[in-house]
């Protein structure tokens, strides 16, 4: 008999303890970040969308070898005498296949890095062409995409840049 009552009262107090937890949480401030109006800035080492600088790249193909899903392609530039130059004619990364693993940035021997991760985490594609980002001499770090329909380079609309002037690291 007493065991029955102790079990009843025991479960009653357990229910009250559960209710206490939710009641107490109600008066604590919420942790929500209201996304479209408030945006989080990722930490310094965040591996967002890749950026590329055609000037510093010495087209050594290290990043092409390091990439697990072979997203990177580049072509060595040749000066007018036809001799290979330590520059790159064009460079492209296929963001459809890239899995942001930072192996290319680590393989890059240049200082500061020619290919590095930005802080942009909002990376959408409005067209399939937009998945393949291309860089040539004179393009800015975010790069343009080659629109096969209009046969011209266009600025990617899908990538929202956290920084208008993209940050670079000295190491």
């Amino acid at each position: 008999m007493t065991e029955y009552f102790s079990e009843v009262f025991g479960s009653f107090f357990a229910i009250l303890k559960g209710l206490r937890v939710t009641f107490v949480t109600m008066f604590k401030p919420a942790v929500t970040v209201e996304y479209p109006t408030e945006k989080l800035v990722p930490y310094s080492g965040f591996r967002g969308a890749l950026l590329f600088d055609a000037e510093t790249c010495i087209s050594c193909n290290q990043c092409v070898k390091a990439c697990p899903s072979s997203c990177i392609a580049l072509e060595n530039a040749t000066n007018e005498a036809g001799k290979k130059v330590a520059k790159v004619a064009w460079y492209s990364i296929d963001f459809g296949k890239c899995n942001f693993c930072r192996l290319c940035e680590e393989a890059c021997p240049t200082k500061p890095k020619a290919v590095w991760h930005s802080k942009d985490y909002e990376l959408t594609f409005f067209r399939r062409d937009e998945m393949v980002r291309c860089w040539k001499k004179g393009f800015d770090f975010v790069g343009l995409y080659w629109d096969r329909g209009a046969q011209e380079f266009k600025k990617p609309e899908g990538q929202v840049q956290i920084q208008t002037v993209q940050e670079r690291f000295q190491y």
Binding site: K65, C67, P68, S70, A73, D94, M131, V132, W146
Partner: protein, 189 residues
């Protein structure tokens, strides 16, 4: 129970059992001369030596370096990438000192939870119609793992309740993890 005790106990019970040429890490690895030896060794291990936990059943195809046609070469959307570029690791080549042979090597890993020791059993099966006795009688865990090996390697386990493929989709032809697997174009390519 230490490795040496186990080795001695097994030597005494099964003289035909010889340590495998390529041991798995520093565990005790034994090679079974033929398929018929598997069940007696396993029953002895399970009943007398207390190996009642079947960790893993796996297989390796020792034919040679993997055939590059086995990988899906999706049409290259990246307009700048040369056609058909796959992973950048250079294609594997045959290396000396590795005994490539026309056989699929089955590997069982049994562990004795109390004695804190694992043992590996290896068995070579001919690639064509290799047949191995199924361990579902002793360990129920072998059920799905053997189905997976049948699915990916084409190894038949006689005595298995329902040897049906488990992982690959219905329309795949052939067994993907074999080294000479060539990928037929299916409706998704």
């Amino acid at each position: 129970m230490t490795k040496e005790e186990l080795k001695a106990a097994l030597e005494k019970a099964f003289p035909g059992l010889v340590p495998a040429s390529q041991a798995v890490g520093d565990y005790l690895t034994l090679r079974l001369p033929d398929a018929a030896q598997l069940l007696p060794v396993v029953t002895c291990l399970k009943e007398t030596l207390g190996f009642e936990y079947l960790d893993m059943v796996t297989a390796t195809d020792w034919l040679g370096p993997v055939n590059l046609d086995g990988f899906i070469r999706e049409p290259n959307f990246n307009v700048f990438l040369p056609e058909g570029a796959t992973a950048q690791a250079e294609a594997p080549k045959k290396t000396a000192g590795v005994e490539y042979r026309d056989a699929i090597e089955l590997v069982w890993c049994l562990s004795n939870l109390k004695g804190r020791i694992k043992v590996f059993l290896k068995l070579d099966l001919p690639r064509g119609g290799g047949k191995a006795p199924s361990l579902v009688g002793h360990y129920k865990a072998a059920d799905w793992q053997e189905r997976e090996l049948f699915d990916l390697f084409g190894v038949r386990f006689d005595g298995h309740p329902n040897l049906v493929k488990i992982l690959t989709p219905d329309f795949t032809v052939g067994h993907p993890l074999r080294k000479d697997y060539v990928h037929q174009k299916d409706r998704f390519d």
